[in-house]
């Protein structure tokens, strides 16, 4: 057990409008961090299987932007825009993620890199401005992941009910 190890994070005040995804990667922290800092690296792994990216502009610095198009395996294109708001090598990267510059629905993700022995634990915490925007993002990504039909009819029914708000 590493000294930097810690238990599950406490349920935060923003729990109902955030999504947290974590992963342990068998590589040193500097290397994992590097994979987030250059377009030649990012373009090799960003997006699910079968997705590719075309970059229009990329400047990895606080205030810099990554302007790109993500191509889905079915040929659909998605405009993507990232702007970095904090870079602490090799510990943390915070970024604003939207469809274009000035996107009012842009949301912030903070990726933290924690060493654990020879491995690195990354955690991506995305906080949406509102619960509604979180649900919209879930819908949008549901569309992006169009091939994933598992439970989708129940899932969209739930969305419908949840969208209708308080009942009964």
């Amino acid at each position: 057990m590493s000294a930097t190890g810690r238990g599950a994070p406490a349920r935060s005040a923003t729990a109902d409008r955030e999504i947290v995804i974590s992963r342990v990667i068998d590589a040193p922290r500097e290397l994992v961090f590097d994979a987030f800092t250059e377009v030649r690296h990012l373009s090799r792994w960003w997006g699910p299987d079968g997705f590719t990216t075309s970059t229009r502009a990329f400047e990895f610095r606080v205030g810099g932007e990554w302007d790109f198009v993500m191509h889905g395996p079915d040929g659909t294109d998605y405009a993507e825009w990232i702007s970095w708001t904090e870079i602490v090598r090799p510990e943390r990267i915070a970024m604003l993620h939207g469809e274009s510059r000035g996107d009012p629905n842009a949301f912030e993700s903070v990726v933290t890199f924690e060493p654990d022995g020879a491995t690195t634990r990354i955690e991506m915490r995305t906080v949406f401005p509102t619960k509604e925007l979180r649900n919209e993002a879930i819908e949008k990504y549901h569309a992006i992941e169009g091939g994933q039909q598992t439970l989708s009819s129940l899932a969209s029914y739930a969305a419908e009910l949840l969208g209708r708000g308080a009942e009964g």
Partner: protein, 113 residues
């Protein structure tokens, strides 16, 4: 998957095909247990048992209507299912799978340098 126990309870509950069939039937509206059992070709005690499990994880709620009990879907319990199927987590989990594979390549390339 670092998730609360209640979440996995929901997924356990819907892992059973007959319980999923009940949920699909309930999409159309509330039903008494006798109708559900009849439609799915199972005994009433079996249908009741499934309904109890679904109710315990917050997927189904019931109310008394005259002499019978009506069962309906509870959208709140479906939230984690929706989020899972909703794609955002899936998107990033698949991206992180690719990141992991790519970083292994990088690691090897740097060792060979």
């Amino acid at each position: 998957m670092a998730r609360a126990a209640t979440t996995s309870d929901v997924f356990n509950a819907i892992a059973e095909p007959q319980r999923r069939e009940i949920l699909v039937l309930l999409r159309a509206g509330e039903r008494p247990v006798t109708e559900l059992a009849g439609e799915l070709g199972m005994t009433q005690p079996r249908a009741s048992k499934h309904l109890r499990v679904l109710r315990a994880v917050g997927l189904v709620r019931d109310r008394k209507a005259g002499r019978q009990r009506m069962y309906g879907l509870d959208a709140r319990g479906l939230r984690p299912v929706h989020e899972w199927a909703g794609g955002f987590e899936l998107f990033w989990n698949e991206s992180f799978d690719r990141l992991d594979a790519y970083v292994q390549d990088l690691k090897q390339a740097r060792q060979e340098e």
